[in-house]
Structure formats: structure tokens, C-alpha cells
């Protein structure tokens, strides 16, 4: 790719009190993509994110935001970054407007007109002059995003963005993030421990567990790899016997058999079944959920 990556994380490690918390994490975000950071609680997602945004200094490794090194060119790197780390904690005793003005003043490159733009973008026009302490969690989340978008960043980092939102709020947030990536060519890094969320929101995923990235790939690829075929046939035992000779078979619910998806061989398998007198009633492919995938990649580690 000829473009500069929006975010480049290379061989990041962090040692706290002699204990290796993060063990060499690397990944790259290209402009306009939504990248999922998936892992159970305590896998090191938040620590990695805090290193990217400059709150924690890494033990080794480099982080570049828009080509600028966070360590050596902190202010330049931060110009390209907008983030919400964990909860959107704003000043509750200030109004939404004052909060935004506060952060706008901290970066001389942001014009005052930008305030109304971001307020409109997140749809907070009606309540912007109320105190933040009177806001609902969803409104705080939106104000948090407005704050993150103030500096027209190239990279937006959202740590658990749907935490504590109701289903409607989650859906709204998801669409909003996709829209930002599509229309503003923004790269978004989203961390979550919710697989369904990442599956619906992201183009690519990194699966992280115990401080290391286990896999990085596009959501489609990861899923395709685990695509299955569900068979419904009679008699089931005979079908299983025949298929077992060809591939790995497991018994599924409701009298079904599950095999791997292997397009060129499928007709052969079917033919063999038919020749043996098995009545094949149904053959369908199924994409696994990221949940199955995750369990497979991490070797069965639970993901609450």
C-alpha cells in the first residue's frame, strides 16, 4: 500500500514490576478501516491502547500515528489522534459546550467553528448548554466522541465504546462508527470483549490474549476459514460412517452432521452418500460465529 498507515504499532512490550504484561504486539491500521481489538478482560487491550495514546510509556517498541512517533514527536502524533479510553469521563460540573471549548483551547490548530460541526455530527445540539452531570450515559458517550473528533483526527481510538449502552444505543454507535470511517476516511480502532459487536462493526480483527496478538486478519477471511457444512440425512449413522472416511465429522444438534467446507470435494461426498443409499435431505453452509473462532484460536480460553 502506498499510503502511510494511519496507525502503526510495532513490537510493543510492557513490563510492570518484572512481569511481562504485553508481549510484542504489532499491527497496522490503514486509512478508512475499522479495526477490532478483541480479547477477554485482562488480555492487555486497555494497556495497549493506553500506550498508543501516550498515557503509559512502553518498555520497548514503537507507535506511529500518521507517521509520527508517539514517544519522540508527542504533540505532532497527538494532533492526529482522538480517543476515548474506557469511560467518557468529562467534567461533570461544566456544560457540554464548556467541556468542548476546554479541549478546543488545548489545541491552537482547532478553529472555534469546529465546535458546532462536531456537536451537529453527534446530534447534541439541544442539550449542549446543560451541565454534563445531567447527561445520560449515551449522551456522555456522544459528547466523548465529539471531543475526540474535535481535532479532525486521522485515527479514532474507542475503548469498549458500547459499554453500558442499551441495544438501541449500541446499534446507533455502530452505525455512527461505520459512517465515520466511510465518509471521513477515518481509521477507527475499537476494542471490545463482545464478539458480536466486533463482527458487525469491523473490517479487520486482531485477537489478543495474555498480552500477545494471536491472529490478525479480515473478519471475512477468519470466518471463511472456519466455514462448515451442515448435513441432514437418513440414516444418520450410515451417513456419518461414509463421511468419516473423507473428512472430520462431528454430530450437530437436531440430527445433523457437521463437516468442514471444502467446495471441490463436496459433490463427491454427496455422490458417495447417495450411492450408498443415504437420503440427503439438506446440505447447507454455515459461517461460524467469532465466538467459535475465538475459542479455537485461544485454545478454549473463556471470554466472559
Amino acid at each position: 500500500m502506498s499510503q502511510i498507515p494511519a496507525l502503526e504499532v510495532e513490537n510493543l512490550t510492557k513490563k510492570i514490576k518484572g512481569k511481562q504484561i504485553i508481549k510484542g504486539v504489532s499491527f497496522t491500521l490503514v486509512p478508512g478501516e475499522v479495526f477490532g481489538f478483541l480479547g477477554p478482560n485482562g488480555a492487555g487491550k486497555t494497556t495497549t491502547i493506553r500506550m498508543i495514546v501516550g498515557l503509559i510509556s512502553p518498555t520497548s517498541g514503537t507507535i506511529k500515528i500518521g507517521g509520527k512517533n508517539v514517544r519522540t514527536e508527542f504533540t505532532e502524533a497527538m494532533r492526529h489522534l482522538g480517543c476515548i479510553v474506557e469511560n467518557p469521563e468529562l467534567y461533570p460540573y461544566l456544560t457540554g459546550w464548556e467541556n468542548l471549548v476546554h479541549f478546543q483551547k488545548m489545541d491552537s490548530s482547532i478553529p472555534k467553528t469546529r465546535l458546532n460541526e462536531v456537536i451537529e455530527l453527534v446530534g447534541l445540539q439541544n442539550r449542549i448548554h446543560d451541565r454534563v452531570s445531567t447527561y445520560s450515559l449515551g449522551m456522555r458517550q456522544r459528547l466523548g466522541i465529539a471531543q475526540a473528533l474535535l481535532g479532525k483526527p486521522k485515527v479514532l481510538i474507542l475503548d469498549e465504546p458500547t459499554n453500558g449502552l442499551d441495544p438501541a444505543g449500541i446499534r446507533e454507535m455502530r452505525e455512527f462508527i461505520r459512517q465515520l470511517a466511510r465518509e471521513e476516511n477515518l481509521s477507527v480502532l475499537v476494542s471490545s470483549h463482545l464478539l458480536s459487536e466486533i463482527q458487525l462493526m469491523c473490517d479487520r480483527v486482531a485477537i489478543i490474549s495474555k498480552g500477545a496478538v494471536l491472529r490478525t486478519d479480515s473478519v471475512d477471511n477468519l470466518l471463511a476459514e472456519q466455514e462448515r457444512v451442515i448435513w441432514r440425512a437418513e440414516p444418520l449413522s450410515l451417513a456419518k460412517e461414509i463421511l468419516s472416511l473423507e473428512t472430520e465429522v462431528t454430530e450437530g444438534p437436531d440430527d445433523t452432521l457437521i463437516t468442514l467446507y471444502n467446495e471441490p470435494l463436496l459433490p463427491d461426498w454427496n455422490e458417495k452418500l447417495v450411492n450408498a443409499g443415504v437420503k440427503v435431505k439438506e446440505m447447507r453452509t454455515q459461517l461460524p460465529s467469532l465466538e467459535d473462532l475465538f475459542l479455537e484460536v485461544t485454545g478454549g480460553e473463556s471470554i466472559d
Partner: protein
Amino acid sequence: MINLVRNEMLKLLRKKRLYVIILIIAFLVPLFTYAQFKEIQDQREKMGNQDWRTTLQQEITDTQNRLSSSRIQDEWRKFLKIRLSQQQYYLENDIDPRAPGAPTFMRIFVENSIDLLLPLLVMVIVADLVSSESSGGTIKLLLTRPVKRWRILLSKYLAMLLSISFIVLSVAVLSYGISGVVFGYGGWNMPLLTGFTVSGDELLTENVHIVPQWQYILMEFGLVWYVCMIVGTLTFMLSVLLRSTAAVMGIMLASLIAGAILANMVSSWESAKYFFMVNLNLTNYVSGMATPIEGMSLGFSMSVLAVWGIAGFIIAFVTFSKRDIY
């Protein structure tokens, strides 16, 4: 930088801390004014119906008699002469030294609040300056801006400096304004003695001279501001180190009160003079009160405070710019 300081001032104002402080002062000053008023009344009653001018005239005669005695030391003679000129000034200008005007009240008020009351008020403002950002989580937003960490902390320090100056100024204005209603607003030029030094049990008077009260008050307010800045800096450091505002307040409160207690007990424990809290009573050096520990002087106390202040400042900035924020 100006924008950053403005941000900090806005947050301070919105937290309403400064109003609370003004309210506290506005409540205490009338209280003390009344106490002072009662005391003066009491004194007058003791003296009976005698006019203060007669009393003062008697004192002058007494001083003159002592001066004419040939056995007194030169140094003492000089002191008495200064005393005499002070007393004569009172008489000539029709000033009752025992009936204070607002400036005198102001002076007595700061002299008595320099070691505890004012540091406490400063603490109320400064204690949560940084720790509230840590405990509220807003520090994460503050430190992910394109602004270096030391600049953010410096803006907070400057906001502290402004608020402390504001507190000291409002103490001056409120104590003058409110007490003047009872005592009258005059007395700026009343001569006062200063320049006492203490050596052992003796009060040395060789450097004693007269200054007009306004100059005296200016000097004392300078010292008060200095003490408040040092206490502020130390509180500021604790606020950086600790996440909990209550812990910051607790530690500062304990040290300030310990200082007040120690000052009365440590006369034989000499190294205690290096504690900052024993050195807060700078105005005592101006008015010539005995020091808690031998060998303390205005210069010594100011240097001890400066060392504590500079150390606190450095610790605050170094930890703040290096620390990992979880």
C-alpha cells in the same frame, strides 16, 4: 499557555471553591472584629475613666525618667529613644494606640492566621487541583492532547498562584473593609517598631526602627503570600502524588496542626527547625516575638521554606511527566 491557564481558572471557578473561601473569610472577619472590639472595651474598663492621653503622657514621662538614668546600657538607651519617639508621635497625632483602626486589625488578623488559617484555605483550593483529574478520569482526556505534560502541570501551578494571590488579596480587602465599619478606616501612618532579633533568651533591640503601619502591613502580607505559596506548592505535590483528595487534605492538615503543636514543644529539639511547618510563622520575626527554637531567624525560616518548596515543585513535575496513567 494563557489558554491552558484560562481553562484551569474556569474549572476552579466552576467548582465554586473560591466562593466558599470568600464566604469563610467574610464570616470569620466580623467574628474576630467583634472579639477585638470586646477586648478593647474590657481594657478601657480596667483603666477606668482615665483619658488615654493621660495614660500615654504617663508612659512618656516614665520612659524619659528611665532615659535620664545614667546606669543604663547604650543599646537599651537607643531602644528607649525609639520607643519614646513612637509614643510622642501617638500623642502629637492624636492616635490612641490601644484603639485600633482597620489597618491595625488587618495586621493582627494576618499575624494570627499565617500559620494555620490561611494555609488551610490555600489547601482547600489546591488539594484537588490534580488529584480530582486523576480520580475523575478526566486526566486521560487532558493528557492525550497535543500538549506536553509539563505544560499542563505548569498551567495548573500558575492557576494555583493566581488563586493564592486572590485569597491573600481578599483577606486584605475583607478584613480592612469589614473591620473598618467598627474601628474606622484610619491609621495607615501609625508608627510601629520592627527589627527585633532574638538571641537566646534576650531580645536584641540594636536594629529596631520605626516604620509606618502601611509599610509594616505590606511587609507582612508579602510574607503571608510567601508562606501560602510554599504550603500551596507542597499541597500541589501531594495532589500529583496521590489520587485521593481526602488523603492530600489529611496529610496537609496533619502536618499543619503538628506544626502548631510542635512550635510550643520543640525548644530543646533543635533539628526540628528544619521542618517546614515549624517555620510558617514568618510575621513573628517582624513583630519581634520569641522563636520556637533557638537560632531561627527570618532568613533561616525563609530558606527552609524555599528548600521545601523547590523540592516539592521538582518532585511534582518529574513524577507528573513520567508517570503511567492507569
